[in-house]
């Protein structure tokens, strides 16, 4: 880790996200390792994890489908997109499909307001959504995963 902070602890939040990207979730082993490297207790690390909504200590699907339903997306059909995904995937908020491919999440504003309704799959933005477009996004994910 690049030491450009006066305290080791300062690297914690971005490092947690990078660690989660690699491992899939923040497992006990990852937390223990990070705590060790940053001279923190595991409790201090868990305290921080629980604050940030992108971080999870539970395994998630390969594709985290995050549908925004906040104000700009709300008035342009964001809820309909969310409900469409819930129906198509057969899971609710924070649910993971049995095949481990998808997790669905209703999220707060992702900064795509002028291109609403919008969603993110992992870090990719998908905007100006219709239910048809959302279907294509989800089908593409499934195709990629089963290639």
């Amino acid at each position: 880790m690049v030491p450009h902070y006066p305290t080791k602890r300062s690297a914690l939040v971005p490092t947690l996200l990078y660690a989660q990207d690699e491992v899939g979730f923040l497992s006990d082993e990852v937390i223990a390792e990070l705590a060790r490297r940053l001279d923190l207790t595991e409790l201090e690390v868990r305290n921080v994890i629980s604050y940030y909504s992108m971080l999870t200590t539970k395994p998630r699907g390969k594709f985290n489908v995050q549908v925004c339903t906040n104000i700009s997306c709300l008035v342009r059909g964001g809820e309909e997109i969310l409900q469409h995904c819930a129906k198509k995937l057969g899971v609710g908020h924070k649910g993971t499909t049995p095949d481990g491919l998808f997790t669905l999440e209703e999220v707060e504003c992702i900064g795509a307001c002028s291109w609403a309704p919008a969603a993110q799959v992992n870090y990719d933005f998908h905007e100006n959504l219709t239910t048809e477009k959302m279907d294509r996004v989800l089908d593409d994910c499934r195709t990629k995963a089963t290639r």
Binding site: M1, V2, H4, Y5, P6, T7, R9, S10, A11, L12, V13, P14, T15, L16, L17, Y18, A19, D21, E22, E33, L38, N47, V48, S50, Y51, Y52, S53, M54, L55, T69, N70, I71, S72, L74, V75, R76, E79, E80, L82, Q83, G92, H93, E106, E108, C109, I110, G111, A112, C113, S114, W115, A116, Q120, N122, Y123, D124, F125, H126, E127, K144
Partner: protein, 454 residues
């Protein structure tokens, strides 16, 4: 085990599309769509000239230039940027810092995203000029965790600036050093509040600090820190090159320059438009935005992100600058202009807004933690037909009692819009009483009662 730059799970990302309108005055957006993420291209487009000019100026001269330009914080609060910089003490035992707030999370706001995508070097240059003004030797650019593709762009921009000797030791051969570091978030609206931002950067939960002391005196790791929004910082190089007088004249007195307005919601042409400060809200909706589609009419508009009190269709004849909108009882805020047509339910809109604040409340202050939760639960019950008349007055009363009683403005951000919804749309609230179904609920759409929660 973990390397900073190794992970890119990006498969493909859609670059956010750009729009334009003849009334735009392109200052910050001048280089958009021209490939300015490439540093050589940025240099061709007058890049890094402003910081070299600043290197030859006194710190006080830089501060005065920014003060006289009338630049005010583009994140939402609208505080005079030059004045904020002038609060940093000349001498300091601890290192001083510049912190770019790229945690853009205010609902309705999507402008900093475009700056990071199209002109990241302008942000870097703004941070450097701020550093020269206050005597800081390093800066941090904090970008929200969800903006991963933009963090990748910014990390490359920083690397390229170092490679050319614009950052690091002896920048531009000036004998002075300046370092800039990227830092990423992990999902938290409250972290956009400047003191919570510092807590997050220090590796903690994003809980705000008591003020005073203000960050300019006691900030990151105890050292004097100026925190500015990304758009504010990206405006600075243009001000240095064009001059304070030119920038100030673009807008009304004390509200200089342009700002990026994120037009969204029920308009024909949503998009991010750079318009002069003081531009008419009515024109923005009907001319720039193309008016309300589908034969509907305007019901309400949120002028500056969800934290700003809404305006009714009768109240849109105002100029979009900090002072005019404040006079109209709302705020210019973050530039997120969200338009609602006559098919939107204000009660549902208020409910979704309160769900957001309840979810994002850091939990530190009782009025905010408990107040947002009570408002959310009351609105859930109210919108689904379980409301009683007293609820309406109670919501207003409770919101008024939240104001000014918290460490940070998140409590106010939930309270003020609620007061506006209840006052301005009382009839719509009353139409939901006595078990009546919501008049706007489309047939077949089941109300999602599940509250957002971890």
């Amino acid at each position: 085990m973990f390397s900073n730059y190794s992970i890119t799970k990006l498969q493909n990302y859609s670059m956010a599309s750009l729009v334009s309108h003849p009334d735009e005055v392109k200052v910050v957006t001048r280089r958009f769509g021209l490939g300015a993420t490439n540093i050589d291209r940025y240099l061709e487009l007058d890049g890094y000239k402003a910081v070299q000019k600043a290197l030859a100026m006194d710190a006080d001269a830089i501060i005065n230039e920014v003060k006289n330009s009338g630049l005010r914080g583009r994140g939402g609060a609208g505080f005079s940027t030059g004045m904020k910089w002038s609060f940093v003490p000349k001498q300091s035992a601890k290192p001083k810092y510049v912190l770019c707030n790229g945690d853009e999370s205010e609902p309705g706001t999507c402008k900093d995203r475009l700056i990071f995508e199209h002109d990241p070097h302008a942000v870097i240059e703004g941070v450097m000029i701020g550093g020269l003004a206050v005597g800081a030797r390093s800066g941090y650019i904090y970008i929200r965790g969800e903006y991963r593709y933009l963090s990748i762009i910014m990390q490359k921009a920083i690397r390229d600036a170092y490679a050319k000797g614009f950052l690091g030791k002896n920048i531009f051969g000036s004998g002075r050093d300046f370092d800039i570091y990227w830092h990423g978030g992990a999902g938290a609206y409250e972290v956009g509040e400047e003191s919570a931002l510092m807590e997050s950067l220090e590796g903690k939960r994003g809980i705000p600090r008591i003020r005073p002391p203000f960050p300019a005196v006691v900030g990151l790791w105890g050292g004097p820190t100026v925190i500015n929004n990304a758009e504010t910082l990206a405006s600075v190089p243009h001000i240095m090159l064009g001059g304070a007088e030119w920038y100030a004249k673009i807008g009304p007195p004390k509200n200089g320059g342009t700002r990026l307005f994120c037009l969204s919601g029920n308009v024909a042409k949503p998009g991010v438009y750079e318009l002069p400060m003081g531009y008419s809200l009515k024109k923005m909706i009907y001319e720039v935005g193309g008016g309300i589609p589908n034969g509907r009419s305007l019901k309400a508009v949120v002028p500056g992100g969800s934290s700003t009190p809404c305006l009714t269709a009768d109240e849109i004849d105002i100029n979009m600058d900090f002072d005019s909108v404040a006079k109209a009882g709302s705020m210019l805020g973050s530039g997120g202009v969200v338009v609602l047509d006559d098919q939107q339910c204000i009660v549902k809109f208020a409910l979704r807004t309160m769900k957001f604040y309840q979810h994002e409340s850091c939990g530190w202050c009782i009025p905010c933690r408990e107040g947002t939760d009570w408002l959310k639960k009351t609105l859930i019950r109210f919108h689904s037909g379980g409301g009683v008349r007293k609820d309406i007055d109670n919501m207003q009363y409770l919101s008024e009692n939240m104001l000014g009683r918290t460490f940070c403005p998140l409590g106010d951000a939930a309270a003020m819009p609620t007061i506006a919804f209840v006052k301005k749309f009382r009839k719509e609230f009353e139409d939901h009483l006595d078990g009546r179904p919501c008049p706007y609920e489309k047939a077949g759409v089941v109300e999602e009662m599940e509250a957002l929660s971890h």
